[in-house]
Symmetry: C2
Subunit: 701 residues, 2 copies
Amino acid sequence: MTSTTPAASLAALMNPQSVAVIGASEDQTKFGGRLYKTLIRHGYKGTIYPINPGRESLFGIKTFPDITAIPNAPDMVVMALPTGKIKDEIKKCAEKGVKCSIIITSKFSDAGPEGAALEQEIVEIANKHNMRLIGPNCLGLISPANELVLCSSPALNVDALIKSPIGFISQSGALMGTLFDKAHSQGIGFSHCFSIGNQADLELCDFLEMLIHDDGTSIICAYIEGLKSPQRFIELAKLARQKNKPILAVKAGKTEIGSKAAFSHTASLAGDYASLKAICKSQNIILMDDPMAMFLLALSMSKFPGQKIGNATIITTSGGGGALTADALSEQNIPFSEFCTQTKESLAGLFTPGQAFNPIDLGGRRHDVLDTDKISELTAEIVMKDENVDAGLFVLTTAPSVLNTTTSLVTGAERTSKPFIVVMLPGQAANAARGYLVAKNIPFTNTLGEAVAALKNWQEWSGFKASPAVIWPDDLPDISQVKGILNESESKRLMASFGIPVNKEIVVADIAAAVNAASEIGFPMVAKVVSSQIVHKSDVGGVILNIQSVKELEQRLMIMLSNINKTLPGAKIEGFSLQSMESGELELIVGARNDAQFGPQVIIGSGGILVELLKDTLVLPAPVHVETAKQALEELKIAPLLKTYRGRPALDVETVAQTIHRLSLLACRLKNSNFEIEINPLKVKQQGSGCVAVDARAQIN
Amino acid sequence: MTSTTPAASLAALMNPQSVAVIGASEDQTKFGGRLYKTLIRHGYKGTIYPINPGRESLFGIKTFPDITAIPNAPDMVVMALPTGKIKDEIKKCAEKGVKCSIIITSKFSDAGPEGAALEQEIVEIANKHNMRLIGPNCLGLISPANELVLCSSPALNVDALIKSPIGFISQSGALMGTLFDKAHSQGIGFSHCFSIGNQADLELCDFLEMLIHDDGTSIICAYIEGLKSPQRFIELAKLARQKNKPILAVKAGKTEIGSKAAFSHTASLAGDYASLKAICKSQNIILMDDPMAMFLLALSMSKFPGQKIGNATIITTSGGGGALTADALSEQNIPFSEFCTQTKESLAGLFTPGQAFNPIDLGGRRHDVLDTDKISELTAEIVMKDENVDAGLFVLTTAPSVLNTTTSLVTGAERTSKPFIVVMLPGQAANAARGYLVAKNIPFTNTLGEAVAALKNWQEWSGFKASPAVIWPDDLPDISQVKGILNESESKRLMASFGIPVNKEIVVADIAAAVNAASEIGFPMVAKVVSSQIVHKSDVGGVILNIQSVKELEQRLMIMLSNINKTLPGAKIEGFSLQSMESGELELIVGARNDAQFGPQVIIGSGGILVELLKDTLVLPAPVHVETAKQALEELKIAPLLKTYRGRPALDVETVAQTIHRLSLLACRLKNSNFEIEINPLKVKQQGSGCVAVDARAQIN
């Protein structure tokens, strides 16, 4: 990697040889005072230029009255001036030749159109002079890797920063400080933390790219409110996978009210959570609910790079704690390790009879064979070495021996290469044990829920299978001319042209024509009215199902016409659509749309009454490989109905998957349009009998 | 209340005038040494008798070589001798006239049949001399109300106990110590905590009864593994409701593996969680997953006795924190307060435009009107006084002002009578703020999830409506003679005799009789084979649906016979059941059984394919009032299908509820039998058209 890549350039920019702090002082009630002191406290090795017109020196470092007064241009400048003063200061910095400025100040695009305009002006000034910007409305950066802290948060009031291969990008400044603070108390450190604020210039993806290329970072965490460049995000996620660097993310604004709060905060439009979830799933980004569970998992993964986990074992000092933990794991469907025979035999010598099973309650240790701590140590070692055990959860309760037990379990477990997480349920009584874990940099939490969330997400990440590359068929038609709102026939023709099975259909002008054409469709038959004035055909009696004969067809079409004449007098009837009546064992909905952020995607879900009850839909980024479609069908709540069910053979999942794949190709071809397509329902038949779209609609703009 | 009630007697027993500690010493590595020191440390006012044959005095208190050497019988004795020595010691205590002994030692009924036998012997010895027992296999008791601590846990290594009106009963000793420890660190204290262990003599319900009558206890928390006397538990729950004392509980062993751990722990058979849940729901017991969330809620409720909450408002120092909190509340369906006009107007003067909505981000405070802390204080006061706000969630992040902001919010909120919970997201940076909250005894947590769980459960508790008393009709038949496995006709006759609608049915001996009787049923008709040798009628072609005429009946019965002859040659055909063919819009399952712990109960759920997919069943303790049945139907996942749905009128919920009610009466009449009854399906028709059981089975032993 040469310094010509954007990531390398940004890495160099983030490791400045000199830093100017505008508003530096000794006053710890002021932003500039706190930031300046924190910078010095954490041992920055470069040149510091405190800017303060009223002082000769600060903490023994020569001050300057103004940025222009510094002999050389500092690499980096940080400022928290009032909003109104930022533009002038940025101009001075840019003209001086500063490489990067951090603007802490808020009330720019986060405060409405006026602020947004000012923000834009500032970016233009900076760009003109090749100066990059972080913020505004951010909290700066904390880079233990570079021994550089440009952040005023009291989170930094700690003796020493903890270095780790975890990088963190936060769209919320306050949360960056808060989470750094909380993480530090659990012994979790970082390589770099960036608060990106309004992302006026440098944005989340810039830092993501930098961290993906950073040798000192092996895991990347992000707190996301809304993505500025979703497509770039996807590309970087692919790159991170290639480089085996897991990305973990928490997204705020999952729900409507959450979105509202996120919007007001950093002026980011919270994207559709389901779409983001689909992207994350397709790229094996670990999307979590709880930032602290995210860090716990990040630390665990950084200690065991690339390790995959399936099942787990519990070792606990309390049967009650074991029971609660077992309940929590079971609810998350995390499987329990079943010990192999050798493990059972080894444990049998250490525990009273009937006590050596998963979850292991150390209360069952024998008192007549070995020191109890030694038994704890051996238990951890034996259990973690078991080939059926992927991960350990050590749940400690308040006891005089909590430090000894913790030490013993860690010592035993560390003789193996398996990951484990310690759950510290006690209060003050375990402070010494916590100190030991922090010093040893062992992943631990005080909250069982965080540990279970970490394991669950680790397990899901482990089970990832990359979608095979989609091979584009040669036979796809040119649909560049297809536009507007398509009626049912047109929609089905479009789909059929992409190889999607649709039911047989003839459109006829009148009843006489219907009678003549009936034999081409056959019976049972469906007849629907065709009229651009009638959108909801069923509501006006415009759909006739299960017609058994030509005679019935004729009679019932006459009744239909008479009914429509009564309810919609004067409606222009363009004709009738005669369709084959299809039976199916199950109805699905399959749709496609162009997501504003993530582009073309397919939505699949259960149809009929189930769709609303089950809220059973999944989003898949297009194109969708047939295998990926099959996997997605497995994840629907109605998946059991696709298999052999109550004596009925399995359904034709293969053709359903083909249909999803084909619709995804159609969606990709429409990627430059704003479109919505829906098959509702897709009737699914038994294996070998296929599936068929019996109603469809499309709108392409 | 006189001391003649069991609760008063137990209360007196738990407040002994003298306590003997067997194995008292100065050695803090030993149980007796720790317990003895802890007892003194926390200021027990009664007489202490240390028992230690090797010492004259301990910490200045005269020791005795043996329990028999004490001049008077101590009220209470605590012992942690090896299992083998307990029986003799108990005998000495009992003969001496000790009123209550606490046995800490384990390996009794928790270790298998041999231990159980020994435990039983010990109980008999104690009973003979009117001595009560706590344990064995317990951790003792912690009673801040009585300044009595008989517990060796390092959880007690604190300067002073916190008194509160929260009582706690724990079936796990280790968890009692652990949770006491953790609770203490969050400023949560107790009136009494009892570790009940194996409940050989005194059991959970004894302590529950005592706490319900205890004037110093207003909220009762319990950690339950299995109930020894479920019916008494229900009666006590009713009493607690009468006395307006909420009961909060966490039950371990919800899942299979959890149950395994619970069993091995205190030899308690974990009951069926669904049944317990039903009982808790019917008695408004708050059943939670997380013990710390339980204590947080207990403290909150104890500060605001009887207060009911619906919606909530968030005040936060970080937009990001607000967004995550809003997401978490929305996911739990906790509604957000919409501020009233006056609140909006008052806030408008304190916040920059567009920032004064729920969730409130204090980052939006104006800097030009008042001191920011004063704005925080006013904001809390204004918002909490809003008539649309029921509860507040104050989410604090790391900032230099975290203590000031916390103080301001609490001060403002305390001017109102509304409950609030503080969520402390920071690490070390908020330690001073935590100290303030502990000192003020304000409910707070470091984990957002705990606060959300507390609010959710508080909200559910608030919405409780007691079931009206069930009025028993006079017209119920005598069914005392009904026994054994009933066939479909017998099952339906039994149900019909209780007023449950069943479809019309005639049983005939042969085809000729079927043809003659057909007109009594009418068409369409269902015919089923009757044979005690054929259990699964459908599997052998023994069910014919939708018969339209006498001729079809005759023909198809002949085909049926011929088919059965082929598949089950020699099967004895007793006849045919002719039934009216019923249509319905929805199928339900309605069953009843006699639960081993909680007695007769009704189970309702969605039928057809939905039952397995949705896992949509609810248990209701019998008898079930019609109104309770209606409420339960509302809680089924398929509830939307019972209402007006896609143009189809609402279904006949009234008769379904009547059916559930009637089946529950039947279940109650069978309460002395082990029975299972099932209607599957109950076909539900449109409003006014009723519902009807079309298949049923029953087994009464």
